[in-house]
């Protein structure tokens, strides 16, 4: 009898100790930021720098004492550009990892697949993908960071209008990103007094765009070309444009090509092409008073120190997503999901790498057109114009 009761007491003691432990752990539990990114696969040029940026800044925040006295932990999964995997990982983030907020989704496809999940679970979700559909119509729990393809088109059309170019040919790939951009290109033309006179497509795996460009060349009255796309085909298109002697027709590309790879891959063919890019890419050329200059330069420096290579324009999306999340958690003074959501929506004049964010209940992106900078490729690098 005695032995039994002694055991009983020991058991109770152990249970008590365990409780005490978990209690202590509760107080120091890290703030968990969950993320699913296309670190591998076709969109790895987005996901890879994004993942690097998230890890880098979680580290830095922790070194400087964390947030609200708690450590920040990022949980990152590689969804490889696959919407189905994105859903699986988002569910795991919510149900198993029990993250406080999701910052992720490199592509629009992955993001849109996860949106219903975030809405249902009532967890704030900051997407790093481009298309407008993510925040139009506004979804209560969903926000997004980077400029949209619509803004890239608007910025380019604005510039064409300034130069008096009205007859435009569109060329782009058959992928989702390209098609969405192309659709905006058609939809917005009227608003800027622009006429789309030719529209050519290539497959994402094509290795020569000369036929498409020849058709554009032979379409009468083409004054400018607008390209939609990203990756290797855009470099090839630029090179073919030069080889076919079409440099007398000004060429604009959307922001999908805003990386040094595009210029290098085109082998000199990108000279003279205009592109709306995030300030990050031309940080050093920004005038001293520009509020984005300092933020961008600091980010570039930190990234270079950590990874020994300059950040691409796309890592900036993750920089902004991470910092807006942290900023909101600080202002909410808690990780309560509803409070954090409200705080994100009240983000005002937040200076990020991609622009200056002011969110409202109607606008869950918060960027205006002037956060895009128009650049021209000159001597194999970006030259700020305007």
């Amino acid at each position: 009898m005695i032995i039994v009761s002694r055991r009983h007491a020991l058991g109770l003691l152990a249970a008590g100790a365990l409780l005490a432990c978990t209690g202590a752990a509760q107080a120091q539990q890290p703030i968990k930021i969950g993320s699913f990114l296309s670190i591998t696969g076709g969109a790895s040029f987005l996901g890879d720098p994004e993942a690097k940026t998230l890890r880098l800044y979680a580290d830095r925040v922790n070194k400087s004492g964390g947030v609200l006295g708690r450590k920040v932990e990022v949980v990152i999964y590689d969804s490889a550009g696959d919407a189905k995997q994105a859903v699986t990982f988002a569910r795991r983030l919510i149900e198993e990892d029990k993250v406080d907020i999701i910052v992720g989704g490199s592509t629009t496809g992955e993001t849109m697949a996860v949106v219903p999940l975030a809405e249902e679970a009532e967890i704030p979700f900051i997407s790093l993908a481009g298309a407008n559909v993510i925040v139009e119509p506004v979804k209560k729990w969903v926000f997004k960071m980077p400029h949209s393809d619509r803004m890239a088109v608007e910025k380019s059309y604005e510039d064409m209008k300034k130069r008096g170019l009205t007859n435009v040919a569109i060329i782009g790939g058959s992928g989702g990103f390209d098609q969405s951009c192309r659709k905006e290109g058609h939809a917005l033309a009227g608003k800027y007094g622009i006429k789309v006179v030719a529209d050519e497509t290539y497959a994402p795996t094509d290795s020569d765009m000369s036929p498409q460009l020849t058709k554009i060349k032979n379409t009468s009255g083409v004054q400018a070309i607008f390209g939609c796309g990203f990756g290797a085909p855009t470099s090839i298109t630029a090179r073919n444009w030069k080889q076919l002697g079409m440099t007398n027709i000004p060429f604009y590309f959307n922001h999908g090509v805003a990386s040094q790879q595009f210029i290098d891959g085109a082998g000199g063919g990108a000279e003279g092409i205009r592109i709306p890019v995030p300030a990050l890419l031309v940080a050093e050329q920004l005038p001293a008073g520009d509020p984005q200059r300092e933020v961008s330069l600091a980010y570039i420096k930190a990234f270079k120190e950590a990874y020994n290579l300059p950040p691409s324009g796309f890592g900036g999306h993750a920089y902004d997503g991470f910092h807006i999340a942290i900023d909101a958690i600080k202002r909410a003074n808690s990780t309560d999901k509803a409070k954090v959501r409200d705080a994100i929506e009240k983000t005002s004049k937040f200076i990020g790498a991609d622009g200056i964010y002011t969110m409202t209940p109607q606008d869950h992106m918060g960027l205006s057109l002037d956060s895009f900078k128009m650049v021209e490729v000159k001597n194999n690098t970006w030259k700020l114009i305007e």
Binding site: T40, G42, S44, F45, D48, S174, E200, T201, Y202, A203, T205, S207, D208, S210, P211, Q212, T214, K215, N218, G231, A232, S235, I236, Q243, L244, G245, Q261, D264, G265, G267, G268
Partner: protein
């Protein structure tokens, strides 16, 4: 006319690329009736290998032969450690093994060499050649020239050397070949090495045009395979004819019909050809004798 010429030049350039890749399929198919789906990966390794060696500071004329040697080594290792142990398992199993190998190779390159796309400088400058108002890339001439040389060498190899004849003999009847003293295992090893070398060469020659990236082998492999099938698997002339036909059809349909549907047009034509000529344009009809 200038427009037509432009589409033709573009088609021939791209077609020559497909043909060069397609030839690699033919060699291994000849020796074993296996379709080596890692062929595209050999192409990618050739391009990526050269780019990486050049980034490491080697001059191009050193990087190219070194890259070819590396790819041949990969091809031999693949045969020795993946294909040969399973050689009694049947053709389908071997094909699946090559698919597995291609995924492995792609993954390793993705992790080790990164996910960026790269470009090799063209061998003889950028200045395009203008003929009749149409533009031809100088690098395209390199590809076409290499194609002619490769076909001639292969023809000589298969018809006038003991090793080449041994490969053909093994292809017709492995058992009989073994009985007359041909080492069938070595034959398979040689054919993997040969097609790896050819793949690497294709990857290096085309990298200035197509750019190169860890996953470029999927596309080039698929198009090369389509070229080989269209021309008739196992026939060198077939792969060349198939590749050129595919390239020209793509360019013409992009130019004259619709750039959005050019791939669909090309595949409909391939299906049509195979419907009437199941063994391809130059394929020999295989008859099963009992």
């Amino acid at each position: 006319m200038a427009e037509f010429l432009q589409f033709l030049f573009s088609g021939i350039t791209v077609g020559a690329i497909y043909a060069l890749v397609g030839l690699g399929f033919s060699i291994i198919y000849n020796a074993s009736h296996v379709i080596n789906f890692a062929q595209g990966e050999f192409v990618m390794l050739g391009g990526m290998g050269t780019v990486s060696l050049m980034l490491a500071g080697l001059p191009m004329y050193v990087a190219i032969p070194l890259a070819v040697c590396l790819v041949v080594a990969v091809g031999l290792l693949l045969e020795k450690f993946a294909v040969e142990p399973a050689r009694n398992a049947g053709v389908i199993t071997l094909i699946i093994i090559t698919i597995g190998a291609s995924i492995l190779i792609r993954g390793v390159v993705e992790v080790v060499l990164g996910k960026d796309y790269h470009r090799l400088p063209p061998f003889t400058g950028e200045t395009p050649i203008i003929i009749g108002g149409a533009v031809l890339q100088p690098q395209g001439l390199w590809v076409i020239g290499a194609l002619v040389v490769v076909v001639a060498v292969l023809r000589w190899f298969f018809e006038h050397t003991r090793l080449g004849k041994a490969i053909l003999a093994t292809s017709y009847n492995p058992l009989a070949a073994q009985l007359v003293g041909i080492d069938v295992r070595t034959i398979l090893l040689v054919s993997f090495g040969l097609s790896a070398a050819l793949g690497a060469l294709a990857g290096i020659l085309t990298a200035p045009i197509t750019l190169t990236k860890y996953d470029v082998g999927i596309m080039l492999g698929l198009k090369g395979f389509a070229a080989a099938i269209l021309g008739g698997l196992g026939s060198s002339y077939g792969a060349v004819a198939g590749g050129l036909a595919l390239g020209i059809i793509e360019a013409m349909s992009a130019g004259y019909i619709s750039s959005a549907y050019k791939d669909a047009v090309a595949f409909v034509i391939i299906l049509g050809v195979l419907f009437f000529m199941p063994s391809g344009l130059f394929g020999t009809k295989r008859t099963e004798r009992v």
